[in-house]
């Protein structure tokens, strides 16, 4: 029983950083779902593209001048990844979803699956299917303490993930609740037709949703690359389903729900992999998704969906 406490503490730290990434991606799912009621199946690939653009930028900046300050490389990678990935988010919506407004529910979903397959294979063609290693930009720990003889540490990368997520969540919450665009978003998620009648450019709002989702996913992608140290074109698929699980867990359509769901899923998964064989951690996440959808499809913070005839 002696070593339980440090293991627990370490798992909480790991779970929080993993959960932060899930939360970042989950917001993209939840915002899109809240506004147009579709599952943006290609969102996981957007996150993967963010990770790739980040690594390409880091490598390019690292090669351009050997001794560039670390903060500059990191913020450069983040900014470029965010810009390019946001452009992907916007384009995907424009090309694959906008022409399908008003079609039956399954039509945009199939289009999204097609887009997801397309993007995955597109990156595979451009960058190869093998693992790409990410240069360790932030080695070392923020702190390492001794709990009853066992070290518990928070690495700098993990700390960055947690703090960046926290900052972005606060910024997003403020933006959605205070700004003009945020108000338009909330109006659209309540009643798209009415918002349109009242002079809100709904197409712009929808594009904005996709762009915000892509920005957050890009940040998540760059940071996970740094944290895990390698990426491949297939990371988006599993991360996408897990983030969707997080969004459903918190209540799809609800932004605080996505944050809560992400953190809860991250914690569940790290604890599961600490006490079960690691191969089964994905099974735990998928199983959790099935269970929530069966027993509480509205999630923790969601509002019940009233079916109108």
């Amino acid at each position: 029983m002696n070593d339980l406490l440090p293991v627990l503490a370490q798992q909480v730290i790991n779970g929080l950083s993993l959960g932060s990434i899930y939360a970042l991606i989950a917001i993209g799912y939840t915002m899109v779902y809240g506004i147009i009621g579709m599952i943006n199946f290609a969102h996981g690939e957007i996150y993967m593209i963010g990770a790739y653009v980040g690594v390409v930028t880091i490598t390019a900046l690292g090669a351009a001048s050997g001794a560039m300050p670390l903060a500059l490389v990191l913020s450069g990678a983040l900014i470029i990844a965010v810009v390019v990935t946001a452009a992907y988010g916007w384009t995907v919506e424009r090309v694959a979803y906008r022409p399908l407004r008003g079609s039956p529910r399954l039509v945009p979903l199939i289009s999204a699956i097609g887009m997801s397959i397309f993007l995955q294979n597109y990156v595979q063609l451009g960058q190869g299917a093998r693992d790409i290693s990410v240069p360790p930009l932030l080695p070392g720990n923020l702190f390492e303490i001794d709990v009853e003889g066992f070290p518990v540490s928070l690495s700098l990368t993990r700390a960055l993930i947690i703090f960046a997520t926290l900052a972005l969540m606060i910024a997003l919450t403020l933006y959605i609740s205070r700004s003009r665009m945020g108000r338009a978003c909330r109006a659209c998620s309540q009643d798209m037709g009415m918002a349109n009648l009242l002079g809100i450019d709904t197409n712009r709002v929808i594009s904005f949703t996709f762009v915000v989702g892509a920005i957050l996913a890009a940040v998540g992608g760059v940071l996970i690359g740094l944290s895990i140290g390698k990426i491949n074109p297939f990371i988006g698929f599993v991360a996408g389903i897990k983030a969707f699980t997080a969004a459903v867990l918190g209540g799809i359509g609800s932004i605080p729900g996505a944050m809560l769901g992400g953190v809860l899923l991250g914690l569940t998964e790290t604890f599961a992999s600490a006490f079960l064989p690691t191969e089964y951690k994905d099974v735990v996440a998928f199983g959790l998704l099935v269970l929530i959808l069966l027993f509480r499809p509205t999630g923790l913070l969601g509002t019940p969906d009233v079916e109108k005839v």
């Binding site: 579709m38 390409v56 190869g128 990410v134 499809p297």
Partner: protein, 415 residues
């Protein structure tokens, strides 16, 4: 002038999008990663997008696709000759393996497996309107039940085939019973999660499934009790010994093709009977309007469950055949991509249209085999086709004609 401006903007956007992913290639040498810049693909992509935008290619191609004739399978002339057509196709399919090359027969067998999968998924997606993204799970269940039963108990293919189908159907019912209450898109994600769970369990349950190594040396099917191998197993007789002819591995290829053909015909027969029965009518009614069905006293869960289980059953049969054909299976054969390919077949053919699904399955399996040099673009094109089909022709290449009856308008009623 406006189109020139849009084209320039689109080209610029393409440059931004493709530059980091196609233009700069990450190369790993040992521990260090370097960038190799190659601007050719970016230039090609930019040019393509520019020209396509300038000519408004998307709208033009869309118009052409939409204008493609809709083959109406219920038209009088067609149904009058349907028996003749079926006979011609059947005779051609029967003669085919004896005249075609060995490679062609192999590809045809492979394609027929997908025809079966496509027809099975068509029940779920096309007739019942339930999006199942984990269809490959049932395929895996069928394949593994045959492989394991034949390894551990030495059961023959013909005994295991129905067992594989029943196992898969049971899994379908077990999964379907709780999840079919969910709305369409949630159902899609849950089935996807279920498909992944099955694959992960197969991958990690080493003691039963040998994990990632899979199962090797699965017995081939027998033909009326005759084996297709060079040497007979103890107590068995091989085909060539029985007829007193020299051994040729081509016999096995032809026999497998004929078994696949038999399975496809069986599938078609069962499905065609079922869609004319009340349960088949109920599937389509449910797809069109669930609330109306409920008000008419149909039990949506039971009807969905029957479609789900039947689709799973055909996937199980196809899986058992797949395992016996290849002789070796690994969990890697049952990834999400397989589900997506089968879904693409159903979508491309036209949801609910059986002839469309058969043609799409042949198209999507034979074309990549013919164009081997394009094989790395195969999935890329699949994805693109799925998106474009949804935009241009969501009803598929050969849409199913849906029974419909419209109330006459006021003027027509008065005439």
């Amino acid at each position: 002038m406006k189109s020139l401006k849009t084209a320039c903007m689109a080209a610029l956007l393409t440059a931004v999008l493709t530059l980091p992913l196609l233009g700069a290639h990450l190369v790993v040498n040992g521990l260090s990663t370097t960038l190799v810049v190659n601007l050719w693909p970016v230039g090609i992509a930019v040019l393509l997008v520019f020209v396509a935008q300038l000519l408004d290619l998307k709208a033009r191609l869309g118009a052409i696709t939409q204008a493609l004739p809709t083959v109406s399978l219920s038209s009088a002339s067609f149904s009058r000759h349907i028996r003749l057509w079926l006979a011609v196709v059947l005779v051609a399919a029967l003669i085919f393996p004896f005249v075609a090359s060995r490679g062609a027969v192999d590809v045809a067998t492979y394609a027929l497996t997908y025809v079966m999968l496509g027809l099975g998924l068509n029940i779920v997606v096309g007739f019942a309107g339930l999006l199942d993204l984990g269809y490959v799970a049932f395929y895996a269940v069928g394949a593994y039940s045959y492989a394991l039963l034949s390894q551990y108990f030495g059961l023959s293919f013909w005994v295991c085939l129905p067992i594989g189908g029943l196992f898969a159907a049971t899994f379908g019912i077990l999964l379907g019973f709780p999840v079919l209450r969910l709305r369409g898109d949630y159902l899609a994600i849950v089935t996807l999660g279920f498909g992944e769970i099955i694959r992960l369990v197969l991958n990690n349950w080493d003691s039963l499934t040998h994990g990632p190594d899979g199962i090797n040396g699965i017995a081939r099917p027998t033909v009326f009790g005759l084996e297709l191998n060079r040497r007979a197993s103890p107590g068995g007789t091989t085909l060539h010994e029985f007829f007193g002819i020299p051994f040729d591995s081509l016999y096995a290829v032809i026999a497998l093709y004929l078994i696949a053909l038999l399975l496809v015909i069986l599938t078609l027969f069962i499905i065609n009977r079922l869609v004319r029965m009340p349960v088949g009518r109920a599937w389509e009614a449910l797809r069109e309007d669930e609330i109306a069905c409920r008000s008419l006293g149909l039990n949506p869960t039971l009807i969905k469950l029957s479609a789900f289980a039947l689709g799973a059953c055909f996937a199980g049969l196809a899986g058992a055949f797949y395992a016996s054909r290849l002789g070796t299976i690994t969990p890697e054969s049952f990834t999400f991509i397989e589900s997506a390919v089968v879904l693409a077949i159903v979508v491309l053919g036209g949801m609910g249209s059986q002839i469309g699904v058969i043609l799409a399955a042949l198209l999507l399996t034979v074309l990549p085999e013919l164009a081997r040099s394009f094989s790395e673009y195969r999935m890329l094109i699949f994805g693109l086709v799925m998106v474009l089909m949804m935009i241009w022709r969501p009803q598929g290449l050969m849409p199913a004609t849906r029974p419909r009856l419209e109330l006459p308008t006021a003027e027509e009623a008065h005439q």
